[in-house]
């Protein structure tokens, strides 16, 4: 025989106990007692009724706290090799000394700075070339930029 759960209170219903009701829309409800049944008929929410299992679960009453804490501790860290790097490579990177890491960082910074310098030099060269080509256009532009400011002040 199947031991069912009360639809309202959540208690176990052993064979020979309780009531089973099929509603008009075909939903089936099992009740352990007339207390549970009449509460359901009154449209009480079991999550608000203190003695039901749903209420206790929702407010985490009783032993469920301990169980949930124990479960969290069981998660272990698992180190795997990835397609890019084998386990050895990963472990080597992890176990690098801080001085070595610093040296690597400084190298990288230096390389980046040199790149930036090279870029700036190129830009300046380009600007100089364009400036020699058209100096008059720049002068004209300056006069135009002054005029709207005077109007704005008023």
């Amino acid at each position: 025989m199947k031991i069912e759960l009360c639809s309202f209170s959540g208690f176990k219903i052993y064979p020979g106990h309780g009531k089973k009701i099929v509603k008009t829309d075909g939903r089936v409800f099992q009740f352990i007692s007339s207390k549970a049944e009449s509460s359901h008929m009154m449209k009480r929410n079991p999550r608000k009724i203190n003695w039901t299992v749903l209420y206790r679960r929702k407010l985490k009453k009783g032993q469920s706290e301990e169980i949930s804490k124990k479960r969290n501790r069981r998660t272990t860290k698992f180190r795997r090799a990835i397609t890019g790097a084998t386990l050895n490579d990963i472990m080597a990177k992890r176990n690098q000394k801080p001085e070595v890491r610093k040296a690597q960082r400084e190298q990288a910074i230096r390389a980046a700075k040199e790149k930036a310098k090279a870029k700036d030099a190129q830009k300046k060269a380009n600007k100089a070339a364009s400036a020699k080509a058209a100096p008059k256009q720049k002068a004209a532009k300056q006069i135009h930029s002054k005029a709207p400011r005077v109007g704005g002040k008023r």
Binding site: I21, V22, G26
Partner: protein, 144 residues
């Protein structure tokens, strides 16, 4: 003391003891019933509001009351049809579920059910029934 007695007399005349017995909900002649399979006649009767009624209950017992699994004659859309009772509002025995509507499955004279599927859960205590009932159980979708 006298005052107390007077008060008691007054209260006894004011309170009325009304006994209330619950409705029997028997399935007898002229009781309205809900067709629970997907037959066309069943659906039409719902649409037109002409709810089927029991005309005759095929039992040999004296008060002709239909119980779970009994055969019944039903007047539906001007026709007479046989049907099996598949769910009762009446209070049942211990492990039998109680339904909110009196459910019925239409059957032809030959014993073959009119519809192709029963949409509502059927009590599993009907599983042990003989002959023609197995055809209804075969179209059932859910058991309770």
């Amino acid at each position: 003391m006298n005052c107390l007695k007077l008060y008691q007399n007054v209260s006894s005349t004011y309170c009325r003891h009304i006994s209330t017995t619950s409705c029997l909900e028997h399935l007898q002649k002229m009781s309205r019933v809900k067709v629970v399979d997907n037959s066309m006649i069943g659906r039409q009767s719902v649409i037109k509001g002409k709810r089927p009624r029991i005309i005759h209950v095929y039992t040999s017992k004296k008060p002709q009351v239909g119980l779970l699994g009994d055969t019944v004659l039903i007047a539906i859309m001007g026709e007479k049809k046989h049907a099996y009772i598949v769910g009762c509002v009446e209070k049942q025995k211990a492990n039998v579920p109680r339904f909110d509507t009196n459910n019925v499955v239409l059957v032809e004279d030959t014993g073959i059910p009119t519809g192709t599927r029963v949409l509502v859960p059927i009590p599993s205590c009907l599983r042990g029934k003989e002959g023609d009932f197995t055809k209804i159980l075969s179209i059932a979708t859910k058991f309770v």
